[in-house]
């Protein structure tokens, strides 16, 4: 006796068209099942790169929901729109130009003073962060708090699209993160040490040797290294 297939099909709506897809897939997989190919708006597929933000509604509910297409399972009747790209014109000042001062952030991104704390950004964050609290922290001069609150930002840009004050949250947070990194975090002594070693030429010979090798010999050294954890004598430094 043949067994009935266990697969259940549901209907989703994408770009205004209905598609029948298996239950249990993520939005990204379901759209691929329906025949779409992602050339944009898809990245790590592991929920961390922020390339595949998606907004959707469910039948009978006014709420606009957000997520990442690679992480959110499809539901019956889902209305889906992909947001592969959010225009965030970003200022990337040189390290020396950064100032540990909220006034400096305001000068580059004056729109943050228009925050009315509606909290639409926090409701839109697929990472479950509170961008609004971070913007408010900047307004009161607490850059460290802002950096701490937004450390897990994946820069998908959904907050920025929902913001009535048109704030470019991910760009602001990246700037604040850099300022805090430069001015408040302890310097990494081991990196400084290693840069000095490189500059002293300690690794020059080994690198010259590696660069002159053919891929076959490199492969051999690599496999040997995986097995024993050791490099051939003339590559040790």
């Amino acid at each position: 006796m043949s067994q009935a297939p266990l697969r259940r099909y549901i209907t989703i709506f994408f770009n205004g068209e209905a598609y029948s897809v298996p239950h249990g897939l993520t939005i990204m997989k379901a759209l691929e099942y329906a025949g779409f190919r992602f050339t944009r708006g898809s990245g790590c597929r592991g929920g961390f790169c922020g390339a595949c933000p998606v907004v959707y509604r469910l039948p009978g509910d006014y709420k606009i929901r957000v997520g990442l297409a690679c992480q959110t399972p499809v539901e019956d009747g889902m209305y889906i729109s992909l947001i592969p790209y959010v225009p965030l014109v970003e200022y990337v000042p040189r390290r020396e130009e950064l100032k540990p001062d909220a006034g400096y952030v305001l000068k580059l991104y004056p729109e943050i003073s228009r925050c009315v704390s509606c909290n639409a950004c926090s409701k839109a964050c697929p990472q479950g962060l509170s961008p609004m609290d971070a913007i408010q922290a900047i307004l009161r001069g607490d850059l460290r708090k802002a950096a701490e609150l937004t450390f897990d930002c994946i820069a998908c840009g959904l907050c920025s699209l929902r913001c009535p004050a048109e704030i470019r949250h991910p760009a602001v947070f990246r700037l604040v993160g850099r300022i805090v990194g430069v001015y408040y975090m302890p310097r990494s002594r081991s990196v400084e040490q290693r840069v000095k070693e490189i500059e002293s030429g300690r690794f020059n010979n080994a690198f010259a040797k590696l660069l002159s090798m053919d891929p076959g010999s490199l492969r051999k050294i690599y496999d040997e290294y995986l097995k024993t954890g050791r490099l051939p004598g003339d590559l040790e430094v």
């Binding site: 909220a102 003073s113 228009r114 925050c115 009315v116 704390s117 509606c118 909290n119 609004m132 609290d133 408010q136 307004l139 009161r140 001069g141 607490d142 009535p164």
Partner: protein, 270 residues
């Protein structure tokens, strides 16, 4: 010991940490436990200068809703702030359900999936009110009398207008003067105590601020005062930027008199 829930406000937190330290030290000297609110947001004073009538209440009502949760843990039923803008906005938001029920309903409906609706239960007070209520303790606690110090009190707008949240007569306020007299100071009388300094025009129309603070400064100089105190960080900023007056936040002078904080008060020695 009575607990005060403390709402700092952005301006004071960002630009006048010394005034904040002084204010908290004074309240503690008066026997209050001062607990900063866990979650607080811009009062709305800044966006409040725009014409978005509903939206400007959102952050204040959210702050009040969250403060209610903290009230249950700490037993503090008063929110105190050192900033007149914050006082004004929070106080108006606190009364919103009775003064503008239609706006109140819409704001609460909007905030529904974040916080429980604020239904009253908190008192919003400015630092000045708390001082006034404890003024008899002030003279007992004073370690440095301000004897003979001729001081001009500049109130600005936000403690005195509109009438519904005014702490004193907007045309002839005496509240802060009576506090300073307890400490031995001699407040001077002059006509422009509540004349607007120009407020946020400092950003787009600085000439208005220059003109207004100029008038105020002349009146204060004519009064013979040697320093001016104000309860408002924005007024302080404008007075310092556009005039040569020796200006400080009210909390600093009181802290100096109580001896609870050593401040570099050049003005008092000069």
């Amino acid at each position: 010991m009575k607990t005060l829930l403390y709402y700092p406000g952005c301006s004071l937190k960002r630009d006048y940490p010394e005034a904040e330290r002084a204010g908290i030290a004074v309240l503690e000297a008066l026997g209050y436990r001062v607990v900063e609110l866990r979650d607080w947001y811009c009062c709305g004073g800044y966006p409040g200068s725009t014409s978005l009538d509903h939206v400007k209440y959102v952050s204040s009502i959210r702050t009040l809703s969250k403060a209610i949760q903290q009230k249950r843990e700490t037993e503090g039923d008063t929110i105190v702030t050192l900033c007149p803008f914050c006082y004004n906005t929070l106080k108006q938001a606190e009364k919103l359900y009775s003064t503008k029920p239609d706006i109140y309903r819409r704001v609460v409906e909007y905030l529904k999936d974040e916080v429980e609706p604020y239904r009253g239960g908190l008192r919003v007070a400015h630092f000045v009110e708390v001082l006034y209520e404890s003024r008899s303790d002030l003279s007992k606690l004073a370690r440095r009398r301000l004897s003979g110090l001729k001081v001009a009190v500049y109130y600005g707008c936000m403690l005195l207008r509109p009438r519904a949240v005014a702490l004193d007569n907007p045309d002839k306020p005496v509240l802060v003067e009576s506090i300073l007299r307890e400490l031995g100071a001699e407040p001077v009388d002059y006509p422009l105590k509540s004349y607007c300094c120009g407020s946020f025009h400092s950003i787009l129309e600085p000439s208005i601020v220059a003109r207004n603070t100029g008038k105020i400064a002349r009146a204060i100089v004519d009064s013979g005062a040697s320093i001016v105190v104000t309860p408002c960080p924005l007024c302080l900023s404008n007075l310092r930027k556009y005039t040569d007056l020796r200006a400080m936040h009210l909390s600093e002078l009181i802290a100096h008199a109580l001896g609870v904080l050593e401040l570099p008060l050049r003005a008092l020695q000069g």
